[in-house]
Symmetry: C2
């Protein structure tokens, strides 16, 4: 078995993530932060520490960290909240995930907002000059950019795009589901209002814990409501971050796993994790390029990427291709990857692509298994 679906969820996790999640939850899995007793205080301590680790990782001590169960829920809270706050003209990258575009579509279909894709050239470069024209034509209220495409791994120059967006006083949101902990970014920049992270992807944590960082001066209306174990007599949500956005019981088992993962990342260093992933991305590209029946999609040597590669298998639909890989013990993801607009942009809609994604833990043995599988596929074509 060789796992090439790290863009869906990294697997396996560093051993310390499994072991600390298990031991912490066994020993301290009482109610977190909502009782004054020792167990609750220990649980609260690990949550606070994990918040600080996120701030350190993203260089955003001036921003506040909100934990959510999934990045999708974080995106719903931010996007629906910003729209409730009045945003009408919304710009997105051509590579957004359904966790962004389906949220927007719910408002777009009723004519409540307009959604425009930022100008990106066919050679995959964000065209800042054309984007400025776009912004001049229709002033942006809200600009949403996936830091890296979950289909082809292309990294967007969010600093430059958001700097431009701020000239028009737009609110900005970076979806870092595929980059947090992998690409050094200063999410503390004044130009970044919101940045979303997914605990179980590039952060190497478990499923069930994600979140976002936000500029504390922004008034983000709530779209989800519930108990906060704090200010309970108030029937509105408390007016404090993170409490306003952290309703219900936090996934303390998940926080413990994320805590261990963030410490592991700190020890490894973001630079090294990217360096190791980049080496493996190149190895993957080299392997895929050596087979005539495979065509790599969306790769421009001049651009920056994370370890996600899409390809097509000649004359075979992506769905069938998935089974062909699976039969040979290779875990890949085929189809639209929940990002139909990215495939429309790339010309691979509606059948999609075969996606292989690596990270710093992908081993040479994995690559050998992939090569054996590809040899076997070639023979049986």
């Amino acid at each position: 078995m060789a796992y090439f679906d790290n863009a869906a969820t990294t697997y396996p996790k560093p051993d310390v993530v499994y072991s600390f999640m298990d031991s912490f939850y066994r020993n301290y899995g009482g109610s977190a932060g909502r009782g004054g007793y020792a167990l609750a205080n220990t649980a609260k301590g690990i949550i606070d520490e994990t918040r600080t680790l996120i701030q350190e990782l993203l260089h955003c001590s001036a921003k506040q960290v909100v934990f959510t169960p999934t990045a999708t829920i974080a995106l719903n809270m931010i996007i629906q909240g910003v729209i409730a706050g009045g945003a009408k003209n919304i710009y997105i990258s051509p590579f957004e995930h359904n966790a962004v575009t389906r949220v927007l579509y719910n408002y777009e279909r009723r004519g409540q907002i307009t959604v425009t894709e930022l100008a990106v050239s066919q050679s995959l470069e964000y065209d800042l000059t054309r984007i400025r024209y776009q912004f001049d034509a229709t002033k942006p209220d809200f600009v949403i950019v996936s830091h890296a495409s979950n289909v082809i791994g292309l990294v967007a120059p969010i600093e430059a795009i958001f700097e431009l967006a701020k000239e028009y006083n737009a609110i900005t949101l970076a979806d870092m589901a595929q980059t947090a902990g992998l690409i050094e970014i200063n999410a503390g920049l004044e130009t970044i209002d919101f940045a979303v992270f997914a605990g179980h992807k590039t952060l190497f944590g478990p499923t069930g814990i994600s979140g976002f960082v936000m500029k504390p001066t922004i008034n983000l209306p709530s779209i989800l409501f519930g108990g906060t174990g704090y200010d309970s007599a108030n029937q509105g949500m408390p007016n404090a971050i993170p409490e306003k956005y952290e309703m219900g019981t936090i996934n303390i088992a998940g926080v413990a796993g994320l805590n261990a993962a963030l410490k592991w990342i700190k020890e490894m260093s973001v630079e090294r994790l990217f360096f190791e992933e980049e080496k493996r991305r190149k190895r993957l590209l080299q392997i895929l390029s050596s087979y005539d029946f495979l065509t790599v999609i969306g790769n421009n040597e001049g651009c920056k990427y994370v370890g996600i590669v899409s390809c097509l298998l000649d004359a075979i639909s992506s769905d069938s291709a998935g089974a062909i890989f699976a039969e040979r013990g290779i875990s890949v993801r085929t189809g639209l990857h929940c990002a139909p607009k990215a495939h429309q942009f790339l010309g691979t809609f509606p059948s999609g692509t075969i996606r292989l994604s690596v990270n710093a833990l992908t081993s040479e043995k994995d690559f050998e298994e992939l090569k054996n599988a590809l040899d076997d596929i070639e023979e049986n074509l």
Copy 2:
């Protein structure tokens, strides 16, 4: 240390919950159900099996199971969805949690809905005759009842209330956060449209996985949107249950833990778990009643309860009382328990009560520690 905060989260869990969660996530923690490969299929298998276990437990094979990260999110999806579908006159029990009342308040404060409390007598009995008068005066669109109060453990006769509600064609929702797996209920009854469960409370599972069962014929508008790994080209949510409501990556580590917990409950049996909890509730009441400085709140011998008891400590505010217990190694929860309306009804608002909650795993050693602590508190009063 003695833990009496099981109403917040059960602790500890049965050992098999920790061990299966750890081993499953280590061995099969790839992407669930969204790749055709072996790991993804194993993960999908455990999700499907867990759905079936929920249906069996709640006797509702005719209902469909939706997993959500928390019961709070489940309540938001249902309540906001039903209101989006047009519900205006909403009835709730006097014991609802902020996960219900804060969601409603967001619409109530804008005059979009009216919220009325169902008639309950001072002796804590739901008054079905008066409730019928209430329904005759203002026809109910939506009736929400906590199956058991998270403050005093009082169990509501939801079958009778919902049968009455159905005479008026209301939509019905049972919040089973404190009862799923503990009280035998036929959630398959035609009169129950929605029932919410919390994985980490009475179900003995981990944090980060909860959900609801729903009648498949109900059209519940979506309030959260995102990727479903299915029907991805559609920018609306797919029109299938559970996919329509399960956006984003499911917490597969949590599902594994819940799976083990549900099998443990099946082996123990719901009747036995209730019987054991009821014995311990009586033991707790006996202990608390033997101290003159404690006053038990909301206990009527003629009513049915789960293992949650609220009390007051003479002349000491609930918040200070929490520290007094914590110092002596006893984990209790003080204040409003995220249910201010319940305390208003009980006359314990705004300072709240001291809540102690037991379950079938509470040991005689826990009770001995509690008695020692109470003796010590008595001496130092």
